[in-house]
């Protein structure tokens, strides 16, 4: 059963220079209890996808096409009050750098209760507090943290509390957008463990967004690689790693250093992602492709996934490049 199905999602931002097509024809689905990874470099549209799912994109951003079917219901075009029902109690999000998003003058517990009051107006303060203590236990925080102010906590503790906050209204799906980027490796390891534990204990679905393919390798069952607003490869995480089809995926894998296995020469990919303003229908990877075909840039081949096997898809233009 799919908890989330995204179909042909397009999202663009209006800017002075023109329309920036940040998300293009993105299609994927997340099963119940599954963790789905999205990986790509900055500006590839990872966060724009996450924001579109909750329709929290910036004011100049607009979903121009596509459907987001959450729990059997299309949530694109819902009114703000209908969306409030979905947000937090259906889908919740742990933002990038969320640990710095606490209000500095309100106690942690009160900030979580605030979200709970909105969704469960009938519950008493005591009931909410009890729930928070349970959640803190799951994410490895002491119950005394409830009465602490954000500045009294370390970065890792704040991030744990953010995860507790994201769990406070019993969501079915959590989006974690680079939840460990600002943290140390040791703390990152602990947070990753907590996220996995939370997923196991509560049976949640997870969308994990990161630029670090090592974290994606460890955290996800299925994954998508994004480049210039499109998904260029998608499938079971093991298959994508063991048999990368798209030139960009191969480059990502070959440019990541590891501390295990023989030390190998890493490959770099020069150039930068293309501008996403008024992109015609050509392979957007062609400028950085190691072996671009003459046809890639001239011919009209819009980026489109093709099936490799039942659990593995890749963009058709670059399957045999480099």
């Amino acid at each position: 059963m799919n908890i989330l199905e995204v179909k042909d999602l397009d999202m663009s931002y209006k800017t002075i220079d023109g329309e920036v097509e940040a998300v293009k024809k993105v299609t994927f689905s997340v099963k119940e209890g599954e963790s789905f990874g999205i990986v790509g470099e900055s500006g590839c549209g990872k966060t724009s996808v996450a924001m579109s799912l909750l329709q929290l994109q910036a004011d100049n951003g607009k979903i121009t096409n596509g459907e987001i079917i959450f729990d059997g219901k299309n949530i694109v075009g819902l009114s703000e009050s209908e969306l409030r029902e979905v947000r937090w109690s259906g889908i919740s999000i742990v933002f990038q750098g969320a640990m710095n998003s606490w209000n500095p003058v309100v106690k942690i517990g009160e900030q979580i209760r605030e979200a709970m009051r909105e969704h469960y107006p009938d519950k008493t303060k005591e009931e909410n507090t009890k729930k928070i203590i349970e959640l803190f236990d799951i994410v490895g925080l002491d119950s005394s943290i409830i009465d602490r102010f954000p500045h009294e906590l370390s970065g890792g503790m704040k991030q744990r509390a953010v995860i507790a906050l994201a769990l406070s209204c019993d969501p079915k799906l959590i989006i974690a957008d680079e939840p460990t980027t600002a943290l140390d490796v040791v703390i990152q390891d602990q947070i990753l463990k907590e996220i996995r534990k939370v997923q196991d204990v509560l049976g949640l679905s997870l969308i994990y967004i990161s630029h670090d393919i090592a974290v994606i390798a460890e955290m996800t069952d299925n994954m998508a690689v994004m480049y210039a607003g499109s998904i260029v490869e998608m499938g079971k995480t093991e298959k994508v790693f063991s048999n990368p089809k798209h030139a960009y995926t191969r480059m990502l894998l070959e440019s990541t250093p590891s501390i295990v296995g023989p030390k190998k020469k890493l490959r770099s990919l020069d150039g930068e992602p293309p501008s996403l303003i008024n992109t015609d229908s050509y392979c957007l990877f062609s400028y950085r492709c190691p072996s671009p075909d003459d046809n890639c840039r001239n011919r009209n081949i819009a980026m489109e996934l093709t099936k490799i096997d039942s659990e593995h898809y890749a963009d058709k233009c670059c399957i045999n490049c480099g």
């Binding site: 460890e218 790693f241 480059m251």
Partner: protein, 317 residues
């Protein structure tokens, strides 16, 4: 003995912090607390550890940006062909010596003056040290831009930092550093702000330059995988002290200090079939290490050229 370029002995850097605006109580933070290491010519030492462990303080003390509290920094003087303590240098001599040590900073968005064009940014160290005439200086800038891969240089010289991408800016930082022909470059997480695809090209550039120009690096990073790619040796720092130092592969394959073990086991592996397990600190192991501690300044050699610290860090882990 190998040709040692820089030798650090019991380096200490303490900061005094006052308890409050009107408080007389002062306490001392021992940010760097007695660390020692050598860096041979053309070799790079990685300094890894979590934030707040004193990596950057070490970098700033070594590049003479901040005065050290105590300890010795000895540098190979190519004129006298002897090791010389930097404490002996003063005035003009010190200024001249500073050319040998340069630093590359973490954030290429903040370490370049936004109102200066690239040519002026790279020219500045030459102007300060009064090297050559204007024409020679401009030629040097042109050459160095070619070296760091910003070609054609005439296209980059009139541009401003905001017109460049993160990777290009970091290349400008490297150019500004190398134009002084330093022998020793302190790199403070120079690639942590860059995207994966660009990161490798900057790392490769630095490795090639090290080989071509015989530069030694102190490479600071929190990412052991990056340190493995860049460094001949790695020192693991914890709470102002070096807890373990060894040749890179030796350290990764035979970590001895419990903290090093935990650090290594915390690194995610880019392979879904690899089952990583986080090492939980074994306090008995730590106790037996501390028990061997006869002289707190000394590290014990567990394997050839593989040293482990025996400081009591039990309460901190």
């Amino acid at each position: 003995m190998e040709n040692i370029l820089i030798q650090v002995k019991n380096l200490e850097k303490y900061f005094e912090i006052s308890g409050g605006l009107f408080s007389r109580n002062k306490s001392i933070v021992k940010a760097v607390d007695g660390i020692s290491f050598d860096i041979p010519f053309g070799s790079s030492l990685g300094l890894v550890g979590q934030s707040g462990c004193g990596k950057t303080t070490t970098a700033r003390a070594l590049s003479l940006l901040d005065p050290k509290t105590s300890g010795d920094i000895n540098f190979y003087n190519s004129e006298t062909q002897m090791m010389q303590s930097i404490d002996e240098l003063e005035g003009e001599e010190l200024k001249k010596f500073r050319r040998n040590i340069q630093m590359i900073f973490q954030d290429p968005y903040e370490s370049l003056n936004p109102r200066w064009n690239i040519k002026d940014i790279i020219l500045e160290p030459l102007n300060i040290h009064n090297i050559g005439d204007l024409k020679e200086r401009e030629e040097a800038v042109y050459e160095i831009l070619k070296t760091v891969g910003l070609t054609p240089p005439e296209n980059y010289m009139p541009r401003y930092p905001h017109e460049l991408s993160g990777g290009q800016r970091q290349r400008v930082s490297i150019a500004r550093t190398l134009i002084m022909k330093p022998k020793f470059v302190v790199c403070d997480e120079p690639t942590s702000m860059l995207d994966v695809s660009i990161r490798i090209s900057i790392m490769d550039l630095m490795l090639n330059l090290a080989k071509d120009l015989e530069v030694s690096y102190l490479y600071i990073t929190h990412d052991l995988a990056v340190a493995r790619y860049m460094c001949d040796r790695i020192a693991v720092m914890f709470n102002g002290k070096i807890v373990e130092i060894a040749e890179t592969e030796e350290l990764l394959n035979n970590p001895t200090h419990p903290y090093t073990k935990r650090l290594i086991s915390s690194i995610p592996i880019p392979d879904p079939s690899y089952k990583r397990e986080t090492y939980e600190i074994n306090f008995q192991e730590l106790d037996s290490l501390v028990a061997e501690n006869t002289n707190s300044d000394e590290m014990i050699e567990v394997n050839p050229d593989h040293f482990v610290g025996t400081h009591d860090v039990k309460g901190l882990l």
